[in-house]
């Protein structure tokens, strides 16, 4: 969103409460509100938020944002404390104004901007986005800014954080009296809202995920620990990630225990389908995953007078794991995964005259480190 448009959106906020509508419109952000009787009430804030978001707001559960707002009188002024939560990330914004009517609009605009930021990128919202303070840092937030703001400003603002990514200002910076738009600016705000509406719709659509390269290692499949290189592709929708990947593993030689000189040469390919649901913790995302994997192993028997046709076998494994992602901007992340898989088949690789060379284990434990790339809008 451009700063000018943002300013327009912010500026119009206080004026919107002049309307009589008190409808309890459904909004995607869970909101709890407490304010003196002469200040905007929860229904008005919801209505304003609904107006700002427009039709792209989605259902009541289309956002992971939650907020509690409280307006308190402070001398002859009013102070809004807005606690905002995004999964496990928390932030607080404190804004003071001479008229409490302004503060309802500030809250609505703040939440609207955060909603845009949430759906404008697959990267997670951070504590800085929410308010520049982590959970329990309200005190820090209060000391970080506004008390030093100009007393001549019509509205003193205490902004504990920085604006949502890409935004030129925050709702906490709002100066309703000085930047209050003329009625002519309202159409511009509506245009911006329409643009955001389209953008939000895109954000809610499926996104392409490329997972490459993937450095993998596991134990339990081949006789020794295996090392492989993988590549994955899939889609992401909100917190869900569905990726299909393939891995090529380094071949390994193995001697069959006490029979020195007898053994096998193993080659291995694998494919995996994973479905993960992420939970944000700051810049990190932790995602439990369900996994289905297919291993394809060929083995050539080795030893004196042994002939081999290099037979191959494949089997299915299923399991679960965790995927951790550290965002490196909006489109890149470093991912780390650990998983456990139960084999539905445990092939025995046997060498005539020697016996069993290796049997696939009942379970395998794997670790993956790689990069993840988000493509598309």
């Amino acid at each position: 969103m451009k700063p000018s448009a943002l300013a327009a959106l912010i500026g119009i906020a206080p004026l919107s409460f002049t309307g009589p509508s008190l409808a309890q419109s459904a909004v995607p952000v869970q909101l709890r509100w407490q304010a003196p009787a002469n200040c905007p009430q929860e229904a008005q804030v919801r209505q304003k938020l609904r107006e700002l978001l427009g039709a792209n707001a989605g259902g009541p559960t289309s956002s992971r944002l939650r907020a509690e707002g409280q307006i308190e009188p402070v001398g002859d002024r009013f102070r809004l404390t807005l606690n905002i939560h995004y999964d496990l990330v928390n932030g607080t914004r404190v804004v003071q104004a001479g008229a409490c009517e302004d503060l309802g609009g500030v809250a609505a605009v703040t939440l609207a901007l955060l909603f845009r930021a949430e759906h404008g990128s697959s990267a997670p919202l951070t504590a800085r986005d929410l308010g520049g303070a982590t959970s329990g840092a309200l005190g820090d937030a209060r000391t970080s800014g506004a008390e030093s703001q100009s007393a001549t400003a019509p509205s003193q603002s205490t902004n504990a954080g920085t604006p949502p990514r890409g935004q030129g200002a925050t709702a906490g910076d709002a100066k309703p009296s000085s930047v209050a738009p003329s009625s002519a600016e309202k159409p511009e705000s509506n245009q911006q809202s329409a643009a955001n509406q389209a953008r939000g719709s895109d954000a809610m659509s499926w996104r392409f995920v490329l997972s490459a390269p993937e450095l993998r290692t596991d134990i339990g499949v081949l006789p020794h620990a295996s090392y492989g290189l993988g590549l994955g592709a899939g889609v992401r929708h909100g917190a869900w990630r569905l990726v299909a990947s393939a891995a090529w593993w380094l071949a390994q030689d193995y001697q069959a225990g006490p029979f020195v000189g007898y053994g096998a040469h193993f080659n291995r390919l694998s494919a995996e389908l994973s479905a993960c649901h992420g939970f944000r913790v700051g810049e990190f995302e932790l995602a439990p995953c369900a996994l289905v994997s297919v291993n394809d192993v060929s083995a050539r028997g080795t030893g004196v007078s042994i002939a081999s046709t290099n037979p191959r076998t494949a089997w299915l494994s299923a399991g679960a794991g965790f995927l951790g992602a550290w965002s490196l901007g909006r489109r890149a992340a470093v991912v780390f995964g650990i998983n456990g898989l139960i084999a539905t088949s445990k092939p025995r690789f046997e060498l005539e005259s020697v016996g069993e060379v290796h049997q696939v284990g009942p379970a395998a434990l794997g670790v993956m480190l790689g990069g993840q790339w988000l493509l598309g809008s």
Partner: protein
């Protein structure tokens, strides 16, 4: 709670348990990744062996010089094994003939719960009278408890009860040198001092052969040869009271000093004529 709900829950739990069991146990298909090459038959005995094996008979003459690795045994339904820290290796040196021999290595640590052993086994109905021979190379003198076994015969029922018949082992004489010792399991008698032959050579190949005239009555005969010279001759005794048996060749030890031992074996034979 209604019984229908109980039944449903029980059925669900059973299904989950079955699914988990299926996942945990799974199937275990066998993938044969290598077979004895066709050339193996050249070393694994002479023509007609297969037919004899199918009838449970040990066909003669038979020999293996490990030129086909362990396939010489496998081809005639024999097998090789190594247990309790023992290893079996097909080596290119030393060899008595051809390109390969077998190295049987054991750990003669007396504190081990099980006896370290690695041997190759012929099994079936042996001829009424036959010569069982192998070439051995012992690299160094070691102190044994008298049961450093090289040949072992047992008899009984396939996959059933068996009992030992004869052993040919290495034992230290009064000078510490190693000599052949024969143990008769029928009279539990040990023959440590074979006569007329020197201690076994160290570091060079020597031949051990036993002529076994099998008999369940007291008219059997045993002759042990070392490098073709009779070292022990026993007559008019029970030598084998079974119809099916096994002949073990390799290395088996309980107590050795030093503990690690490798013996090399080449050109194992069974023949009915001298």
């Amino acid at each position: 709670m209604p019984s229908g709900v109980d039944d449903h829950q029980r059925a669900s739990k059973a299904s989950v348990a079955l699914a988990l069991a299926w996942l945990a146990l799974g199937c275990e298909p066998t993938v044969v990744i290598g077979s004895c090459s066709e050339a193996s038959g050249m070393d694994a005995g002479q023509a007609g062996a297969s037919a004899a094996v199918s009838a449970g008979m040990v066909a003669t003459p038979w020999s293996t010089g490990f030129e086909d690795g362990l396939c010489g045994y496998h081809a005639v339904e024999g097998y090789c094994y190594a247990r309790h820290e023992a290893t079996l290796e097909i080596v290119r040196s030393p060899v008595r003939s051809g390109k390969f021999a077998a190295a049987f290595s054991v750990n003669g640590n007396a504190t081990m719960a099980e006896r370290s052993q690695t041997r190759c086994v012929r099994q079936g109905a042996f001829p009424k009278s036959a010569y069982y021979g192998a070439w051995y190379l012992v690299p160094a003198v070691q102190i044994s408890d008298g049961n450093w076994n090289l040949f072992h015969f047992l008899g009984g029922v396939p996959d059933g009860e068996t009992h030992a018949l004869w052993d040919i082992s290495l034992a230290n004489n009064s000078d510490g040198a190693l000599e052949l010792a024969v143990f008769n399991f029928f009279d539990r008698r040990f023959y440590p001092a074979t006569t007329g032959v020197p201690p076994i050579p160290i570091g060079s190949w020597f031949h051990i052969e036993i002529q076994l005239k099998r008999s369940a009555q007291a008219n059997g005969e045993v002759i042990v040869y070392q490098d073709g010279v009779p070292a022990l001759h026993l007559t008019n005794l029970i030598t084998d009271d079974t119809e099916w048996g096994q002949w073990y060749v390799g290395n088996y030890a309980k107590t050795l000093v030093p503990t690690l031992s490798t013996v090399y074996v080449d050109d194992v034979t069974i023949r009915e004529e001298p």
